[in-house]
Amino acid sequence: MKSRLLGWVVTGVVVIGFWHLALVLRLVSPAVLASPSEVIRAFPRLLMPEAALPDMLATVERSVVAFFIGTPIGIFVGLAVFFSHKMRQPAEFVLDFVRSIPATALVPVFLVVFGIDESAKIAVGAFSASLVIALATITGLARTNRTRAAVATTLRIKGLRRLLLLDIPEALPEMFLGFRAGASLALILVIVAEMFIGTSRGLGRGIWDMRYSDDLGLLYAALIATGLVGYGSNLLIRLAEDRVLHWRGR
């Protein structure tokens, strides 16, 4: 336990050390990179009600909503495509193709379709999340173990019961990968949308507004806070995953 803690401390010291050294040796200009101490001092300001805290909450709320709208849609689309037999390959191609368009490039399209209110930001996040989740669901369903499928057939497990008892559990590990990718995409797109689609609140807006500010420390603190939000959502899903997929890797 003690040596583990030491590893964390050493890593922290090395990262901050390099950061500090880069500034001291003028490898990076202080005009573009805040020093570690500035950032640390900026953090309390970030949490003040009039600063970035409402921005953070607004962004978290939008990405969570986007994720929870995108997830059921993605699962449903994935199931529908997988079980559509002859339509499956073309439908999967369409999904894969649309997914290949960088979702950030679609932000203007969503702006046109949904206008400049909340719905556009949430829709673009939900859209991206649903695509990766749909594709992950299809991949997962295709992974059904052949022996277990044969056993299920001999046990006369079919239709909806087969879906619930066999196909979905088989697909879940892959689906969870999709959930994690979807959650992180939702966050990315909400932040990008906040930069471009008029809003007064949101980390995207806040970071964009800070671009000409003198307060570099606050900008970097906001970036780190964004990272923490992303890391946190990933961690939450991973914890859920470990609980749900108790059989994985055994």
Partner: protein, 256 residues
Amino acid sequence: MKPIPFVEFHDVTKRYTSRAGTKSVFEGFSLSVRSGDRIALVGANGRGKTTLLGLILAVVEPDSGSVVRSPTPAGQSLAYLPQDYRQALFPWFSLQANLALAMPRTTKASRELPPSFHLSEYELLCDTFKIHLDLEKYPYELSGGEQQIFLLIRALLSNPAILVLDEPLSAVDFARKRLIQDYLGSWLSKHDCIFVFASHDYEEAVLLAERVVILTGVAASNCAEVSVTLPWPRNFEMRYAPAFREAIDTVSQVVL
């Protein structure tokens, strides 16, 4: 009159295509199996033992010809112990749910044990096989041999109309294997089902079967058959009987 369950192969062809080309496992293969038949499948690796079992279970489709199987009577099961026993149970469910899913019932398969199920029968079989398998456990908490024994117990308790075992005791330790083979030797004398199993162990094949079907490959018209005339119930004491030795010798010669 109750219909007699059967499985019939008519002129079945089955080929597998891979990058290396097409490999024919069965050409014009015919076989007739009736209820009460105890059939052992032996033969070298890759001769189609598992494919034949798959055809019986209708989880493998023939390329041509037909496999006709009588419908499974109500209250009976189609029991299958696959070769890869580690992939046969649903690891997301406990042993109890896995057991329940295999029990025949009038309603749809369920994770709850049916009222007709008697836990004492399960415990009795565990005791007979000198094993303790806690139903609260998950399949991955069992060793390979334990999973295999659990699958066998599940199959025996499910009142099978057709009992299909693919190398059923391959992971079971020697002493317990003898115990289970003896048990099967008497169980089979009391239960009227179609029993087909694949094995590499000729003693096991001869002990538990009346018909030893040897898959010889396509060239020699698919298969040869050796009859075993030992009386039922069977047990391992019979391995010194002349009929037993004779059957083993014949099987060994035909396989090679």
